[in-house]
C-alpha cells in the first residue's frame, strides 16, 4: 500500500477487522433476537482548496471515521454508531442497536467471507496523495484563463475538492465486502459586469478518478465555459411564462429525469405505497421512446460504486423499458418486502446514517433523431442547456427545475438567452410527453449530489437531446398580454 491515508480497520491497520471480529460483533448485535444485522466501517478523508482573488485563499482537510451497526427485526431498524474502533466502543454500539429486538431469541450469524468486487475506478495515483502544489497550479490555470478571456470578467473563484472513502461491510448473512472510493470535483465560478448589469457563470466536473481528469477537460476549457455562460446571460431577456415545447440538451438534463422519475422508483416509497409509481410494474408509464436505466458500473463516473453500503454488488438495473415500468431500485429492506434480491442500491451518506434505496448513474438512453431536427421541429419553446437543480414531490411526481442557462426557440432556431427560467411539471406526464429523442446520448460531467431525508450521496446522470411537448415554463413574461 502506498499513500498516506488508510483506514485503521484495513488489513494492516491499527485496528484491523477480520472475519472473527465481525462475527463476534454480529453475534452481539443479534443477541436480543434481531433477524438481520450489518456492520458498516467507514474511513473518509477529504480535502478542499479555494482559489479566490488570485491567491490560494484556503486549504482544508477532514478525517471522519466510525462504525455503524444496524439490527433489523421485521420492518423495524435499530441503529447505533461509534467513532473509535476499540472493541469496547464497537460492542457498545452493537448492544445499543440490538435493543430494537428486545424479547426475541438470539440468532447466530452465518460465517462471514469476503466477496470479490469489480474495480470500476482504477486510479493509479489518488489525488489525495499528490502534492498540493499540483492542485494549486490547476486552480491558478483556470483563474488566469478566465481573467484573460474578457475584460468584463470582474470576479473569479475556482475550487477543487478531493476525497477517498474506504468502507468495509459485514452482515449476518455471511457477506463481507470492501471498497475504496476516490472522488474529485472541480468548479469555477465567474461574475461578469457590463454597464451596471451583473451576471454569473459556472462550470465544473470530476468523477471517481485522479488528476488525469484534467488531461481531458482542462481547467482552461472550464474557464471558457463559465465565462461564456456569464457573458451570454448579460444579454438575457425575461423568460416567457406558460405552456410550451421544451428541448433538453444532452448530458446535464439527465438531472430532470433523476428527479422526475428516479426518486419515484426508489423502492422504499413503493414499499410504503407513497409513490405515484406504487403498484404499477408492467404498466406503461412513459412514451414508448423511453428506456431508463440506473447503472453503477460506468468507469470513473461520479455515481459509480463497486460495492453498495450494504455489501451488495450493484450492476445495471433497467427501470423503464420502451415506456413500460420494469422494476424499482432495491435495498435489503425493500427487497425483503418485495420478495426479490437487493440489487445494490442501498447507499448512505456515512456511518452515521442507515442505508436506503438510492440512485447511482441514472440515464435515459439515446434515440434515433438528429439533434438539429429536434430543434427545427419547435416553432416556439425553450432550449434548456444547464440546470441549477431541482426538486420533486414523490407522492404525486410534481417537480420544479431551475435553469442556469436557457434559450428561446423561435421558428426552429435557438435565439435569445433567457433569465430565471423554471420548468415545472409532473414526472409521469412529462415522460408521456417525450416526443423525440436524439442519437447524441451523453453522460454528464461529475457535479451532481443527491439529497434524500437529509443524506447526500454523489450521483451521475445522462441523456440525449429530448423534446417534451408542452411543459410549463415559469418566467415573468405573460404571452399575449
Amino acid at each position: 500500500m502506498t499513500g498516506r491515508y488508510h483506514a485503521p480497520f484495513a488489513e494492516h491497520g491499527s485496528h484491523a477487522v477480520d472475519a472473527d471480529i465481525a462475527d463476534r460483533l454480529l453475534r452481539i448485535a443479534l443477541e436480543k433476537g434481531g433477524d438481520y444485522a450489518d456492520l458498516f466501517f467507514e474511513y473518509s478523508v477529504s480535502g478542499s482548496y479555494v482559489y479566490d482573488e488570485q491567491i490560494l485563499k484556503s486549504a482544508r482537510r477532514a478525517v471522519s471515521m466510525g462504525l455503524g451497526v444496524r439490527v433489523m427485526k421485521g420492518d423495524a431498524t435499530g441503529y447505533a454508531y461509534c467513532e473509535d474502533f476499540s472493541f469496547d466502543a464497537m460492542k457498545r454500539a452493537a448492544k445499543t442497536a440490538a435493543q430494537i429486538a428486545a424479547g426475541g431469541q438470539p440468532l447466530a450469524p452465518l460465517a462471514v467471507s469476503m466477496r470479490d468486487a469489480p474495480n470500476r475506478y482504477p486510479v493509479s495515483v489518488e489525488s489525495l496523495d499528490v502534492d498540493g502544489e499540483a492542485k494549486k497550479a490547476i486552480l491558478e490555470r483556470a483563474d488566469r484563463a478566465a481573467r484573460a478571456s474578457d475584460s468584463r470578467v470582474v470576479r473569479v473563484d475556482a475550487s477543487f475538492a478531493e476525497s477517498a472513502r474506504e468502507v468495509l461491510i459485514a452482515n449476518s448473512l455471511g457477506h463481507m465486502a470492501r471498497d475504496r472510493q476516490p472522488l474529485i470535483r472541480f468548479g469555477i465560478h465567474v461574475i461578469a459586469e457590463d454597464a451596471g448589469n451583473r451576471q454569473s457563470g459556472s462550470s465544473g466536473g470530476g468523477g471517481r478518478m485522479g488528476l488525469e481528469y484534467f488531461d481531458g477537460q482542462t481547467p482552461e476549457w472550464h474557464a471558457e465555459q463559465a465565462v461564456k455562460q456569464a457573458l451570454v446571460m448579460l444579454d438575457a431577456r425575461e423568460a416567457p411564462a406558460g405552456e410550451m415545447d421544451v428541448v433538453l440538451a444532452p448530458g446535464d438534463s439527465g438531472i430532470l429525469l433523476h428527479e422526475a422519475v428516479g426518486h419515484g422508483l426508489e423502492a422504499d416509497f413503493n414499499r410504503k405505497k407513497t409513490s405515484n409509481y406504487s403498484g404499477r410494474v408492467g404498466e406503461e408509464v412513459a412514451s414508448a421512446l423511453c428506456t431508463v436505466v440506473d447503472d453503477a458500473s460506468l468507469e470513473g463516473s461520479r455515481g459509480s460504486i463497486n460495492v453498495d453500503d450494504e455489501g451488495q454488488l450493484p450492476t445495471r438495473s433497467v427501470l423503464i423499458e420502451d415506456g413500460v415500468l420494469k422494476g424499482y431500485m432495491q435495498d435489503r429492506h425493500s427487497a425483503d418486502f418485495f420478495g426479490t434480491t437487493p440489487d445494490g442500491h442501498g447507499r448512505r451518506q456515512s456511518f452515521r446514517s442507515h442505508p436506503m434505496p438510492r440512485m447511482t448513474n441514472t440515464m435515459l438512453l439515446g434515440g434515433q433523431d438528429a439533434p438539429e431536427d429536434i430543434i427545427r421541429s419547435v416553432s416556439r419553446g425553450v432550449y434548456a442547456k444547464k440546470f441549477g437543480g431541482g426538486q420533486v414531490d414523490i407522492a404525486n411526481g410534481d417537480f420544479v427545475f431551475s435553469l442556469t442557462e436557457g434559450y428561446l426557440i423561435e421558428d426552429g432556431k435557438v435565439t435569445a438567452p433567457l433569465k430565471g427560467v423554471n420548468l415545472i411539471g409532473n414526472g409521469p406526464d412529462a415522460m408521456r410527453n417525450v416526443v423525440m429523442l436524439g442519437h447524441d446520448f451523453e453522460v454528464s460531467d461529475g457535479i451532481w449530489t443527491c439529497g434524500k431525508e437529509g443524506q447526500s450521496v454523489p450521483v451521475g446522470v445522462g441523456c440525449p437531446t429530448i423534446k417534451i411537448a408542452s411543459m410549463t415554463v415559469g418566467g415573468t413574461q405573460v404571452a399575449g398580454g
Binding site: 490560494l56 485563499k57 482544508r60 411564462a241 410504503k272 420544479v400 427545475f401 418566467g475 415573468t476
Partner: protein, 458 residues
C-alpha cells in the same frame, strides 16, 4: 456543576491543548473548536416502530495561520494519532496557502468574556432524559391523531421524534476561551392522502423547541399535519396571469431566507448579492422591519458569543424598508472597510463566515384572516419547491402550491404553478404584514402579501 458544564470544561481543556500544540508546531495563530453531541431519533410508521437510532459523537476542528496564510482541518478521530495528523496537516496546508492581507483574528480587545455573556436558556436537562419508549409513544400519538382527524388520511410517511444535546467549546491563541451548550427536541408528522388520478398528497407539520415543555402537544401536531394534507386534495393548475400573492408564514420564511443569504458581508465583497452598494437605500416597502437577534431566550439561533469570540448583539438590518447594515464577521468587515457586527459563525470543519442568528421580519397588527379577506382575487402560497433564485441578480422563480383566493376567501387548492418576480421588487411590493410570527425557526416571518407577481401555469 451540571453534567453539561463539566463536559464543556473538558472540551475547553482539549481545545486549549490542541491550540497550544499548533502554536508550538509553528502556527502564528491557532483556534480550536471542539464539539460533542448525542441524539436519539425514532420513527414510527402505521403505528409500528420503524427506526430507533441512538449515538454520541465528538469532533475537533482546527484553524491555523502561518503569517497570513490560512488552513483548517477537522477530525472525528480524537486519538493521539488523530490529533497529531490534525495539527500536522493544518500546518502543512497553511504553508501551501498564499498570504491574504485581510486574514487575521479579531483584535484581542474585541473579545468577550464570561461575565458579559447573557443566559439564553437554551439547555434543558429534561430533553436528554427522554427515553426511546417515550419518544416512540409521542411519535405514535402524533401519527394516530392525523389518522383520526380525517378518514381521507389513508397512508403515512411516518412520524419522527428526535432529541439532541450538544456541547461545544472554542479556544483561540488570541486569548478567547468559551463554551456553549444546548438541547433540542422535535416532532414531525407526515400523513398521506389519495387524490384523484392516482396522485397522492403528502403533507406535514412539526414542532421543535429547546425545552421539552415548550414542544407542541402531539395531538395538535398530528391534527395540523392532517389538515394540511387534506387541504391539497384536488389541487389544480391556474391559468398564467399577474395577481397579488399572500405568503403564509412558512412560505414567507423561505423568502426571508433568500434575503438572509444576500445580506451577509461575504456575499457582498464577493459581489454575489443583488444588495451590493445598497446600505442606506430602500430594499423593501416601508412596512418591513428586519432584525437579527441572537439574544432571544430559548430561540433556535441564539448565541451569546460569535464564532470568533465577539459578544453577540442585536442588529437592525432593515428599518422601514431601508437597509441599515450587512451582517459581518471580522474578515468581511475588513474587506468592506467596516467593523464586525458579531455575526461570525465557525463551522465544525474550522471555516469562518458571517451568518444570521435569529433573523426576524417583525409582525404587524393585522391578522392573517384580515389579509385574506381584503384580497379580492389572489394566490395564497403555503409551500414552494425548487431552487430558482439567482442571488447576483435577485431573479426569483419557484414552484408554488396553496390556494386560490376568491372574494376574500380561500377557495380551490392550487399546485404545479410557478411564481416569479425579482426579490428586490418582491420585497418592495409587500403591502401588508400579518401578526402571526412564531419563534419555531431561526429565520422567521409572519404572513405577508405582495401586491403583484407573475404566475405561470396552464
Amino acid at each position: 456543576m451540571s453534567n453539561a458544564e463539566e463536559e464543556a470544561k473538558a472540551l475547553v481543556d482539549l481545545g486549549r491543548s490542541v491550540m497550544e500544540r499548533a502554536i508550538e508546531g509553528g502556527a502564528d495563530v491557532a483556534e480550536a473548536g471542539v464539539h460533542s453531541g448525542s441524539h436519539l431519533s425514532v420513527k414510527v410508521r402505521m403505528s409500528e416502530p420503524e427506526l430507533v437510532e441512538e449515538a454520541g459523537s465528538r469532533a475537533l476542528g482546527l484553524r491555523v495561520m502561518v503569517g497570513q496564510r490560512v488552513a483548517s482541518t477537522y477530525t472525528s478521530d480524537l486519538s493521539e494519532a488523530g490529533q497529531r495528523t490534525l495539527i500536522e496537516d493544518a500546518l502543512e496546508l497553511a504553508r501551501l496557502s498564499e498570504s491574504d492581507e485581510f486574514a487575521g483574528p479579531p483584535d484581542p480587545s474585541e473579545l468577550s468574556s464570561p461575565t458579559q455573556w447573557a443566559d439564553l436558556d437554551t439547555f434543558d436537562e429534561g430533553v436528554s432524559e427522554i427515553s426511546a419508549d417515550e419518544a416512540l409513544s409521542r411519535a405514535q400519538h402524533g401519527e394516530r391523531a392525523a389518522f383520526d382527524f380525517d378518514p381521507r388520511i389513508t397512508n403515512s410517511e411516518g412520524a419522527s421524534f428526535t432529541r439532541a444535546r450538544g456541547v461545544s467549546a472554542l479556544v483561540t491563541s488570541g486569548g478567547f476561551a468559551g463554551s456553549d451548550y444546548g438541547t433540542y427536541a422535535s416532532l414531525v408528522v407526515n400523513p398521506v392522502a389519495d387524490d384523484e388520478g392516482g396522485k397522492k398528497r403528502s403533507g406535514y407539520h412539526w414542532s421543535a423547541s429547546r425545552h421539552y415543555a415548550d414542544l407542541e402537544d402531539s395531538q395538535a401536531v398530528g391534527e395540523e399535519a392532517a389538515r394540511r394534507t387534506i387541504a391539497q386534495l384536488g389541487a389544480k393548475k391556474l391559468p398564467t396571469q399577474e395577481l397579488p400573492v399572500i405568503f403564509d408564514k412558512d412560505a414567507a420564511r423561505s423568502i426571508l431566507g433568500l434575503f438572509a443569504g444576500c445580506v451577509l458581508g461575504s456575499s457582498i465583497w464577493r459581489k454575489s448579492s443583488y444588495l451590493v452598494d445598497r446600505v442606506g437605500t430602500r430594499v423593501a416597502s416601508d412596512l418591513v422591519d428586519i432584525v437579527d437577534d441572537p439574544l432571544l431566550p430559548r430561540a433556535p439561533g441564539s448565541r451569546a458569543f460569535d464564532g470568533e469570540g465577539l459578544l453577540c448583539r442585536r442588529n437592525v438590518v432593515v428599518e422601514g424598508g431601508v437597509l441599515k447594515t450587512y451582517l459581518m464577521d471580522t474578515y468581511s468587515a475588513r474587506k468592506l472597510g467596516q467593523t464586525s457586527t458579531g455575526s461570525a459563525s465557525r463551522s465544525p470543519a474550522g471555516g469562518i463566515s458571517p451568518s444570521t442568528s435569529n433573523l426576524i421580519l417583525k409582525a404587524n397588527a393585522q391578522s392573517r384572516d384580515e389579509l385574506i379577506a381584503e384580497t379580492k382575487h389572489g394566490l395564497y402560497v403555503t409551500s414552494m419547491m425548487g431552487f430558482g433564485f439567482n442571488a447576483v441578480t435577485g431573479d426569483f422563480s419557484r414552484g408554488a402550491s396553496g390556494f386560490l383566493i376568491q372574494n376574500g376567501e380561500l377557495s380551490d387548492p392550487v399546485s404545479e404553478v410557478t411564481i416569479s418576480l425579482n426579490l428586490d421588487q418582491l420585497l418592495q411590493r409587500i403591502d401588508a404584514v400579518a401578526d402571526d410570527l412564531d419563534q419555531r425557526t431561526a429565520i422567521a416571518s409572519p404572513t405577508f402579501r405582495v401586491s403583484s407577481m407573475t404566475l405561470a401555469g396552464s
